[in-house]
């Protein structure tokens, strides 16, 4: 039996373990396996194989019994999941049920989760804007959180690295506020979007309307064919999973790539309970896993561990990794783990009408939109609130059918498409300021079905966010007015935090172990063989959709970790 145990332990030992197979974990696994590391990729949800496990991907609209609307009973039983714009008949199976994965809302927080191989990379909005140095400078300049330990210049080559592989469409706009990347050809801005771009450029030297940079293959290169992916076909049904691999997901891209190296072991249905800390060795030696099917607990071992469980679950796992050395969570000597959680403020929208370009319309569909990079407080502080917001912007030609009658007249009316004017719309993406009072913590008593403590989430807007909502509405209204848009409507949805699906922080990077958890290599200051490269690592949030930055951090951090292993420092 002794031999059996030794063999068993050997069988459960790898060079590296990656916790979580979403957008950042997929990248960690790809980079590790490419560098020859025998890697165990743990995913708490079920397996989702590219194409094979996209059951709705080729369904026609009429094949959805409720035409994508979710039945009332499901909506009523799942207020959190159903608050997500992407939760519908064709994609519901990629979301978790509220009652199966409970947490405690100390303040209202809609925690949107996708527990399966690929995680939320199947569901994401695919916007991939780089950060600029202005974004990294934020906390130090404006005296909040802590100074970022990394510069744009250090991260830039890694942005390029992940962009080439993932396939990012975009236009080289030459803006210092939103650096250009390694882009595939851009999507079109439409007539009214281009018009607005010109009008805004005429009025403001620092405000720009550009086409979004997005993880869609617009002209496939060899590197994409090598992944088995083809160009995006403009179906705009991404949340079903794409049979072409037209957009980037772990499932279509990094995971099959890692599997192809022969170095990856993918283990779905594996809920990580905690990391195992060896007091004598002074490092983490493995992870404890609850098999979600058998509820059996088992251990796996490795020289290095990447925690990519998604921002809040990474906090949960590390806080739950208790040892004599670390009674408050792994690497948490300063007690800051779980604190300084922030998110993006998506509350406000501004829409309007435009009656120009009445002889024109658009043709086809576009899985992307216009984008307005942050222009507030970029070069210096200029408002009564800190930081600023980016915004999405889009225009569409209004078309409709005459539905006024009944009988044959109605039937004829429905077959005749009529055109109205153009509709324009915008939504804000505001930076929120990380604060100690916005935090997550473990509940002392309540546990979930896997024996994990429930997460208590205590995150809310503050006065800075209120002022930003107001300013965004005012500035957009001014820009719309100058462009001749009419019937301008501002709206504050009071969207609940979490619903932006951009929760970040809790295990922040920083220069000083006294005030941060991770160093500039996303490495726990106090447990050098543990790396965190998902949203938990974020010191501040800036305004960009964050996934691209997590990908770049993951690739950069793996590069560092493997070099350290080879130099026998890890």
């Amino acid at each position: 039996m002794a031999n059996f145990n030794i063999d068993s332990k050997k069988d459960r030992t790898y060079d590296a373990i990656v916790i979580g197979s979403g957008i950042s974990g997929g990248w960690s696994a790809k980079e590790l396996t490419e560098k020859g590391m025998k890697t165990l990729l743990l995913e708490r949800g079920r397996n989702v194989e590219h194409i094979k496990d996209y059951p709705t991907t080729n369904m026609m609209p009429w094949e959805f019994a409720h035409r994508e609307r979710m039945p009332k009973e499901v909506v009523d039983a799942n207020p959190i999941a159903s608050s997500c714009y992407n939760f519908k008949e064709s994609s519901a199976h990629f979301f978790v049920k509220d009652d199966e994965h409970p947490y405690i809302q100390e303040k209202p927080f809609q925690w949107i989760r996708g527990y399966q191989v690929g995680g939320k990379s199947l569901l994401w909005a695919r916007q991939t804007q780089r950060w600029s140095q202005f974004d990294f400078d934020g906390p130090a300049r404006d005296q909040f959180a802590v100074e970022w330990p990394i510069s744009y210049k250090e991260l830039a080559p890694w942005y390029t690295h992940v962009e080439r592989f993932a396939g990012i469409t975009g236009n080289k706009d030459g803006l210092d506020t939103l650096p250009d990347g390694d882009f595939l050809k851009p999507h079109d801005l439409n007539c009214v979007e281009k018009y607005f771009k010109q009008q805004v450029a005429r009025q403001y030297k620092d405000r720009h309307i550009i086409i979004g940079r997005a993880a869609h293959i617009t002209d496939a290169k060899q590197i994409h064919f090598d992944q088995g992916r083809a160009a995006c076909q403009h179906r705009t049904m991404c949340e079903r999973g794409c049979p072409f691999g037209g957009y980037f997901s772990s499932n279509a891209s990094t995971i099959p790539w890692a599997l192809k190296t022969g170095n990856l072991t993918l283990r779905p249905d594996s809920v990580v309970h905690s990391l195992i800390y060896d007091e004598k060795l002074g490092k983490a030696v493995g992870v404890r896993v609850v098999d979600s099917l058998t509820k059996e607990m088992m251990e796996f071992y490795a020289r290095i561990i990447f925690v990519n469980a998604s921002a809040l679950n990474t906090n949960l796992i590390l806080l739950n990794s208790i040892s004599t050395r670390f009674p408050n969570g792994l690497g948490n000597d300063n007690g800051l783990m779980g604190k300084y959680v922030a998110f993006h403020n998506y509350r406000a929208t501004v829409s309007a009408d435009y009656d120009g370009f009445l002889d024109s319309t658009t043709d086809g569909r576009r899985p992307n939109s216009g984008y307005i990079p942050r222009f507030r407080n970029v070069y210096k502080q200029e408002t009564d609130f800190l930081r600023g917001y980016a915004a999405g912007f889009g225009a569409n030609r209004v078309s409709y059918n005459d539905r006024s009658d009944m009988g044959e007249d109605l039937k004829a009316g429905l077959m005749e498409t009529k055109y109205g004017g153009w509709h324009v719309g915008s939504h804000m993406m505001g930076e929120t300021i990380p604060k100690e009072s916005n935090f997550v913590a473990l509940d002392g008593a309540e546990k979930d079905a896997y024996g994990m403590p429930k997460l208590r989430i205590h995150v809310a807007y503050d006065d800075n966010d209120e002022k930003m909502v107001k300013d965004y509405m005012e500035q957009m209204t001014e820009m719309y007015t100058q462009a001749g848009f009419t019937n301008i409507r501002t709206h504050d949805s009071h969207r609940i935090p979490g619903n932006d699906i951009h929760e970040m922080g809790g295990v922040r990077m920083g220069k000083d172990p006294k005030t941060s958890l991770l160093n500039k290599w996303n490495q726990l200051h106090n447990v050098k063989n543990v790396f965190v490269t998902d949203g938990a690592a974020m010191t501040s949030t800036s305004t960009q959709n964050p996934s691209l930055t997590y990908m770049a951090f993951s690739a950069r951090s793996v590069d560092y970790a493997v070099k350290q292993m080879k130099a026998k420092n890890l």
Partner: protein
Amino acid sequence: MTYFYDSRVTENGIELTESILRKNMERRSALKNIALAAGAMISLPTWAQSWKQSELQATNYLSVEASQLLKEVVEVIIPKTDTPGAGELGVADFVQLMIVDCYDQPTQDRFKMGLERIQALAKAQGTSFSKLPQPEKLQLLKGLEKSENSEEKSFLNLLKNLTIQGYMSSEYVMTNLTHYEMVPARYHGCVPVKG
């Protein structure tokens, strides 16, 4: 309530259809059949069925007679011309499924009462709705649409909207009339408006 991820619907569908024709069916099975008619032909793997509701709702919603009336009514709203009308395209089944699955109990009750109101108005003319001449059927519905009674008006609006939705999203219309493109493979930001 029936949800299309329920694979039993697909497996037992044909048999259920026959049994409905044979005898006055138990309501639960009829609803299963509606899901079938509404296009629930896709069989999904077990894990994708995780959102289906465990039990069919035990309520009796529309009687066989009311279901038949609904079919006649949607056919009046969008009638057969040189192309099929809403009745023939199964839109009544879609409307009923949506009402039962996606609306609250008061709305379901008001919808049922609305159908009863249609029959009552026909009776007041000394006949049943199905025996009214076509122009009178249309007049009756238009009367409800313009009714001073807000319940009648909102019933008709809901019925009409769901009928239009069901018709426009039917396989026949999207395939043959509006030419739905599953895979456009393009986006052009500025093209001339046709015609």
